[in-house]
């Protein structure tokens, strides 16, 4: 009995990987060009924003919270970066990312100090940030011509690998290290697992929550500036799709919304799966309607094979 449970858990562990291979093979056989180096780079390029934001989201969901403001935050930071680019050049990116951290800190503070559930706080702030971004850009795209700012995505710091492909990889490495190798990371799991007990065990839960929200904000800031740099402009609502997709990516990867179970590498799978399916459907020229249905079905399928029910007391 125990053995079989173990075996299924082992199988569960590799299911996202299997799903990924099956989906990739499907598109690969259908379109030989799908796995050309050019398209793999294109894929990485297209998933980079989602990857970065989802990394940040992983921190939040591990704690059992949620951050619905990431998409609007990305737009907001992108606008700030774009507006400052003519004056500060590359420095504008740093300010943009700091703005993201500030929004994250605001989220975290309201959640922990004012004690409003994170879902509501971030959902409300999403609207406020969209409004603020629109006000800042006068409702019209802010074009960027500063070369340093544009190099943020198209330049290359390392082995002629474009930054837009390099940055997500750095982010994955950093997040992996922080979540798995530091006390901060362990306390995220502890908070997600049993917040009350963690509180009494002496971990400074509130501080950790605020920092986690700031990390999520920083990631949104990086993604927003990267997006602005890549489109050569900060556009209204450009980050909107990131919110739902990043939550979906984290959950499809197998990190549970109730918190305490999962991790950044699982999120990588989730993002790659979403990106491959999205790009594959573009290749096939799938109708938007079918696209919606496929996305929904894949989400249910991935979560139902991925979820570890033994660690859940009951399903809400």
């Amino acid at each position: 009995m125990k053995e079989s449970v173990k075996r299924t858990t082992a199988l569960m562990k590799y299911l996202p990987l299997i799903l990924l291979v099956v989906v990739s093979l499907f598109f690969g056989i259908l379109y030989p060009r799908f796995f050309s180096i050019k398209n793999v780079l294109n894929l990485i390029r297209q998933m980079s924003f989602l990857m970065i934001v989802s990394m940040g989201m992983t921190f939040i969901i591990l704690m059992g919270s949620i951050d619905a403001s990431v998409g609007a935050n990305a737009t907001f930071c992108g606008v700030i970066g774009a507006l400052l680019a003519p004056y500060l050049g590359g420095g504008a990116i740093i300010i943009g990312i700091l703005a993201g951290a500030g929004v994250g800190a605001l989220n975290g503070t309201i959640v922990t100090k004012v004690k409003v559930p994170s879902f509501l706080v971030t959902l409300s702030l999403m609207g406020a940030l969209d409004g603020a971004a629109l006000l800042l850009m006068h409702s019209s795209p802010v074009n960027i011509s500063n070369q340093t700012f544009l190099d943020f995505s198209n330049g290359s710091l390392l082995f002629s690998l474009p930054n837009v492909d390099l940055i997500p990889i750095i982010m994955i490495a950093v997040c992996y290290f922080v979540i798995n190798k530091t006390a901060f990371g362990r306390s995220l799991y502890a908070i997600g697992g049993n917040e009350q007990a963690t509180f009494y065990s002496g971990i400074r839960v509130r501080q950790i929550q605020i920092i986690a929200f700031m990390i999520s904000g920083i990631m949104a800031g990086v993604a927003g500036c990267l997006q602005a740099s890549m489109f050569e402009a900060a556009c209204p609502y450009m980050g909107d799709a990131l919110m739902m997709n990043s939550i979906a990516a984290v959950v499809i990867g197998g990190t549970q919304l109730s918190g305490g179970v999962g991790g950044p590498l699982r999120t990588v799978f989730g993002v790659v799966l979403i990106a491959i399916i999205g790009s594959g459907m573009n290749f096939m020229g799938v109708e938007p309607a079918t696209r919606h249905i496929v996305t929904g079905a894949i989400m249910i399928l991935a979560v139902s094979v991925n979820i570890d029910r033994s660690k859940m007391a009951y399903v809400k």
Partner: protein, 437 residues
């Protein structure tokens, strides 16, 4: 206890509502009288401010209303039909008597036009109209529908594309979002035009949601799939065209010809630096302003004839040759229109629409060509009577004669694109009327 205080709260709330109601019954009439003198409020509706097209749309409506000495109000609906109707209903309740603008879906036009007739508000709209629903179906308060013909715009785009590629090439088609009649019809027009050129081909079509980022990502995938095969991309708006241009530039495809629809200050830059090959200008600000002027005229007693209830309006083609002219004329702080001069009531004899306008005959309207009539629906017979009596031809000539101020017609130096085009379906078949300086 919890229930107790809740009961009190509910009673309190009902009291507040009753008091408010009583106040309004008592004070309502007084206010109405006070409002009759002085500047009137005029409402313009559109979807969202986060869109270049609607930004200039807002500018046009505002300039027109203020030129007429009235107070401008705008209401946006985020593309939600329920918010659109609710906005109109609220403003009708606050005695706004003149409304104009854009409706977020074609279907909501029916309820909007029923509403203005119920509430006795003068209304004139642009661009979107419900299938088989004419102003005469709704009632006298819906004055005029303005429509730069989507099919004709797409066909024009196809011709320009063929010209640019020397009649031989593979192109892609970027549509708006699913359900946008204007977007889909422009795409359809493009494909119809390409049928005349055996060497031209549409490789693929895709929805780009009218946004720059979606235009970018769809094009990036296409570039992988088709690579150097791509010769041109036709986009049903210019935001997507700019996204496509950025994607092509990044992939090193420099000689892809990209054509967009709707010109404004932001995207003219991309036309000037060669990223875009051409843009179709549909005079968004003029549409908004003229619709407001029509509502104003109706309020002041002017009644449109049957032929005038639906009008096809002019559009132009912009390339590098006339980009500077467009920027100089339209992209300053103030639009080049004399809004008061458009008014039939302020200038009964020498009014000037300042754009090409041709009446639309509903039975052969391009927008409805492939849509079946709803069961039991017949177009009001007044329209065929007006066609038979020659009213349509008279009205067409009338608007042509009064169009004297040619500031908004491209200069002759930009031939062959020195023309204003408008679709004309009042003859035996649909043609395009052309006007030069």
């Amino acid at each position: 206890m919890y229930k107790n205080s809740f009961k009190k709260a509910t009673i309190l709330l009902i009291c507040v509502f009753l008091l408010a109601g009583a106040y309004s019954f008592a004070g309502g009439e007084q206010e109405q009288n006070a409002a009759a003198a002085g500047p009137q409020k005029m409402l313009t509706t559109y979807c969202t401010m986060a869109n270049d097209f609607f930004l200039t749309f807002d500018q046009g409506a505002k300039e027109a209303v203020e030129a007429l000495g009235n107070e401008y109000i705008s209401a946006t609906d985020d593309r939600k039909p329920e918010k659109f109707i609710s906005n109109m209903s609220s403003y009708a309740a606050s005695d706004v008597k003149m409304m104009s603008g854009y409706s977020p879906t074609i279907g909501s036009v029916i309820e909007a036009t029923k509403l203005v007739n119920r509430e006795k508000v003068y209304y004139s709209n642009v661009l979107e109209i419900a299938d088989w629903w004419t102003p005469l179906d709704a009632g006298p308060y819906w004055g005029m529908f303005h429509f730069p013909d989507a099919r004709a715009i797409g066909m024009q785009g196809g011709d320009v594309m063929a010209e640019a590629l020397q009649k031989k090439g593979k192109t892609l088609l970027l549509l708006g979002f699913p359900g946008s009649k204007a977007g889909n019809d422009r795409g359809l027009g493009y494909k119809i035009a390409l049928e005349n050129y055996p060497g031209m081909e549409v490789l693929a079509e895709e929805y780009g949601d009218f946004t720059r980022d979606k235009g970018y990502s769809v094009t990036a995938d296409w570039i992988i799939k088709y690579g150097d095969e791509i010769d041109g991309i036709y986009c049903t708006n210019t935001s997507m065209a700019v996204g496509a241009a950025v994607a092509c530039k990044e992939a090193g495809l420099t000689d892809v010809k990209i054509i967009g629809t709707d010109a404004n200050k932001e995207n003219m830059k991309y036309l000037k630096d060669g990223s875009l090959y051409g843009i179709c200008g549909i005079f968004g600000p003029w549409l908004a302003g003229h619709a407001a002027v029509v509502a104003y005229d109706m309020y002041n007693g002017w009644e449109p004839t049957v032929a005038e209830t639906m009008m096809s309006t002019g559009f132009i083609m912009l390339t590098q040759d006339n980009a500077d002219w467009y920027i100089d004329t339209f992209c300053g702080d103030k639009l080049p229109y004399d809004w008061k001069k458009m008014s039939r009531t302020l200038n009964p004899d020498n009014w000037d629409p300042q754009n090409l306008m041709v009446p639309i005959f509903p039975e052969t309207f391009s927008n409805w060509e492939f849509v079946e009539k709803p069961k039991g629906y017949e177009v009001p017979k007044e329209y065929s009577e007006a066609l038979a009596s020659g009213e349509y031809k008279e009205i067409r000539q009338l608007y042509l004669d009064h169009f004297k101020d040619h500031t908004t017609v491209p200069p002759s130096s930009s031939a062959p694109y020195d023309k204003v085009f408008a679709s004309n379906n009042i003859g035996s078949e649909t043609v395009v009327d052309v006007l030069t300086k």
